[in-house]
Amino acid sequence: MTRRWLNRAAWAFLLTLGCAALAAPWLPLEDYRSMHVELRLEAPHWTASPVLGTDAQGRDMLARLLWGARISLFVGLCGTLVAMFVGVPYGAFAGFRGGRWERTMMRLADALESIPMVVFVLFLMSILQEYRSELAAIGCGRLQLFLVAVGLLFWLPTARVARAEALRIRQLPYVLAARASGMRGWPLLRTHILPNMMPAMLVMLLLTLPRVILMEAFLSFLGLGVEPPAVSWGGLASDGLAAMNPLVGSAWLMGLPSGALALTLLALQRIGRSARP
């Protein structure tokens, strides 16, 4: 009983958040970028303005949280999709072909996993930076490049799960029957294997999404996050870390974005677990 209630609450929260984030430009909010020096470091007033307080430059936290939601959720979703677009075909192919193909491909994947993540991200960003004017011409800005970089950090677990699924489905009776009757290669993949992988892939998406969002927070902490004036929850939380001492004491600066992050991730995990077959 409680589980169903929790699922409903999770869905409700995510939908509200998603709508609020999408509608942020049209909501009656303060400008999230404008700085008001005289209002700096105001504690949240909850019922009066500023509802959720202001940061060190006097910018309204409620607005920054909602705009941050846009970026964090967008990065999370697109990063996960990138991970899946790369990982699922790779893993499905490996699991489908089996034999030496599978072994070599998975061995290669294991080796790539050992490379420290930061080296990889820097390398990617650097390469993409070289071509930034060409990419800007096709509408690919820094945010998009960042998405690709973050997504590519997670293709491996996706590939592994995809491979396991492909292996499992390949042994199913009706698939064996299809193969016995002469179906091979791409038609087999398209008709039987990939559609059957969908449920597991959906769960994978829901479980990878939190990891991508946390990775974005980590990269923001390192200073490699999204570019200003865009804000993300991870960036807000890492900025607020310097406030967790008795001198400053503005705990809401870190508490609010972390709380938002935690609630969102909890909701996603709840839904992910409930969707598991």
Partner: protein
């Protein structure tokens, strides 16, 4: 068994070589060098430096030097810490990372396994639910947030522990907690899932029906199967733990390996970056190997070293 072990070790070596090559290519392809400063070097000085560190050779020659150094265990001098060898830097950082990671691992096991078992038990349902909730919450916040909260609580509010630094066990307690809690959360969830599954299996149900005491039940039927997925998960997780979380090391000013990863890459310290990558790969491979061996001993159904 030993032939399989040998083959496994060989494949570990191959992985190390592959990773070394890939990392070499990546760090060198990234723009920017280790000698770029705000105050630019005079052209002849820049040239002399590059000659001294062999950057004027072709990339292939440099790679060959790097690989031959790798086989001797010599990564050369660091490009930023120019008066120190990379192996010395790694040797200084490794014990700290081991102490940090090892302690965190023990703590995580001590906290995670019992809480997972508790969560699965029917008698302690409320405590178990609390354990699950805490675990899911711990996995939903970034680790620097957890670090900030713990420092605010234990260092400033209660004044029990120092907020950062390194030198005694007291300095390691908060970092251990920060690293252990999320890991404990994952272990707890894994153990809970597997234990629930085991408890519902036919053999266990019949054992309970026959009146087997809880302690015996735990020891004979539950512990081994529940711990297998933990071990499988622990292999790669331990290596990541050992090399330390960069965040924890930065927040608590601990001189471990994790910081080297990021710093070496950011500063374009090629030799250090390669050294750290190789160490990480070796650790990852060994931890996975150990975990696989342990798993084989605990659960004979698992084919070891396959």
């Amino acid at each position: 068994m030993s032939k399989r072990l040998l083959r496994r070790l060989l494949s570990l070596l191959v992985s190390i070589l592959l990773v070394h090559a890939a990392a070499f290519m990546m760090v060198r392809a990234t723009r920017g060098g280790p000698f770029d400063e705000e105050r630019a070097l005079a052209p002849q000085v820049q040239l002399a430096l590059e000659q001294r560190f062999g950057f004027d050779d072709s990339l292939l020659v440099q790679y060959f030097h790097a690989v031959s150094g790798l086989f001797r265990g010599d990564f050369g001098p660091s490009l930023r810490y120019r008066d120190t060898q990379v192996s010395a830097l790694l040797a200084d950082a490794l014990p700290i990372s081991l102490a940090l990671g090892g302690g965190a691992l023990l703590l995580a096991l001590l906290l995670g396994i019992p809480s997972g078992l508790l969560a699965a038990s029917r008698r302690h349902r409320n405590a178990g639910a609390l354990a699950i909730t805490t675990s899911t919450f711990l996995l939903a916040i970034p680790n620097f947030v957890l670090a900030g909260l713990l420092v605010a609580l234990f260092s400033f509010q209660l004044g029990w522990l120092p907020p950062a630094g390194f030198g005694s066990v007291r300095h390691l307690l908060l970092p251990w907690l920060c690293l252990a809690l999320p890991l404990a959360a994952q272990i707890s969830l894994l153990v809970h899932a597997r234990t629930t599954e085991t408890l519902n299996s036919a053999s266990v149900r019949s054992a309970i029906a026959q009146g087997l005491s809880p302690q015996l039940l735990l020891r004979r039927y539950i512990l081994r199967p529940s711990l297998t997925p933990v071990l499988a998960f622990l292999g790669p997780a331990t290596a990541a733990l050992l090399t330390g979380s960069l965040v924890i090391e930065q927040v608590f000013a601990l001189p471990g390996l994790g910081t080297f990863f990021v710093q070496a890459a950011l500063a374009r310290d090629y030799t250090l970056a390669l050294g750290v990558t190789v160490v990480y790969t070796a650790l990852l491979g060994s931890c996975t190997l150990c975990a696989d061996l342990l798993m084989a001993r605990m659960d004979p159904r698992v084919e070891a070293l396959s």
